[in-house]
């Protein structure tokens, strides 16, 4: 039973029903969170690769941008408690990327410029639920928001949508990534408030 905080009252309006997970509030800003300086990799040096399958697979920026793209509008939820509704992205579906690889792994560790990693089940990257996004709101994705390309897995807390993503390592076991090593949840479902290990 939580103690009452004397004199505390709701000031924010409730978000639209069914859109805002527990403990989140809606913001119109797009806050930035990251652990270090923003990496800036020239597109000429950029690749996206998938390792750990039968054969490694890699795309240059030009090859990646030649893949079929999707425009999607979705809600995003940051573990620091802001949610942003109806964000519009352009990206390549992970279904398209993973279809280029033969694998039977159940997990991936996404890796990024700057050394950031995050772990996800393969099942959460397939079935039209995950993208490598390169555009936001009709413009190229800004570097501070993860450009040139970031993972976009909007049904999990947003730290799983790794910025500056450069590839996936397919794995048989679920190894913690960067924030997961510091006590954040291995899966991160906002609707179950899986913020920290043990939640």
């Amino acid at each position: 039973m939580s103690p009452i905080s004397r004199g505390f009252r709701r000031k924010r309006q409730e978000g639209p029903a069914g859109r805002v997970p527990p403990g989140q509030y809606v913001t119109k800003d797009f806050p930035v969170l990251s652990a270090g300086p923003t990496p800036r990799t020239p597109l000429a040096n950029w690749t996206f690769s998938i390792d750990g399958g039968r054969e490694p697979k890699s795309w240059t920026w030009e090859e990646f941008r030649a893949l079929p793209t999707e425009t999607l509008t979705t809600d995003i939820h940051c573990v620091t408690r802001w949610s942003k509704l109806d964000t519009t992205w352009q990206g390549v579906s992970l279904d398209v990327l993973l279809a280029a690889v033969e694998y039977d792994a159940r997990y991936v560790l996404a890796f990024c410029d700057g050394g950031y990693t995050t772990n996800l089940p393969v099942a959460d990257l397939t079935g039209g639920r995950a993208w490598v996004a390169f555009g936001y709101d009709g413009s190229p994705l800004g570097a501070e928001h993860g450009g040139p390309a970031r993972l976009l897995v909007p049904h999990l807390y947003f730290w799983k949508s790794a910025k500056w993503v450069r590839g996936l390592q397919l794995r048989d076991t679920d190894e913690p990534g960067f924030w997961e090593n510091y006590g954040y949840h291995m899966y991160g479902d906002p609707w179950r408030e899986q913020r920290y290990a043990g939640d």
Binding site: S5, F8, F178
Partner: protein, 246 residues
Amino acid sequence: MAGTAVRGRLTWQSATVGSVTDETHQVRTLLLEVPDWPGHLAGQHVDIRLTADDGYQAERAYSIASAPGEPLAITVERLDDGEVSPYLTEELRPGDSLEVRGPIGGYFVWEPAFGGPLLLLAGGSGVVPLRSMLRCRASAGSSVPARLLYSSRSWEDVIYRAELDGLFDGVEVIHALTRSQPPGWTGYARRVDQQMLAEVAWPVAQQPLAYVCGPTSFVEAVASGLVGLGYPAGRVKTERFGATGQ
């Protein structure tokens, strides 16, 4: 990068407000009495949960202001359109109750064994976790050289002003006042820029360790500025706060 993992389940604990101290006209430090506080590292944060009498709850994260070994303290800046920070900075009194869980975060931390020299760069209330590091350095008797470059709007907006003025032995504090300066001010009177960083930052050859905390625009400018001076990205740790919600 592993090693400081928080592995057990983080549970909510009742806390009682022990004291409140006004730092500036819109910033207040709250000392929180938590019977089973497990201790924390300098730079970590804590989740705060408030419960209204109708059952409505709000949670926010705040940087810890006190050093390891000291009672838990947070320093909160009031954002007028916020839901939680106006309550914490205006309404809350000693003896009031709230809930905390933590400590949280293991990357933006400093321990004396990490060494230095230490370069701390704060924008506004981004000074809070850096103050925890300076208090940690002092209480550990560390002789690691340390510099704090601290950007504030005005002299009246400087948080922990008296403490930074004199309490930290062997720490150089360099202020930048961006909007207004007191009469006779001879220090920096502009936003932190590349030239200022070049003047203040330890030379790369000394293998400094930098911590940058503030609003996104500050952190972006300072972190990329340090990389431009040759700081390896892995030696520049950043923490940012959005201008929203807190």
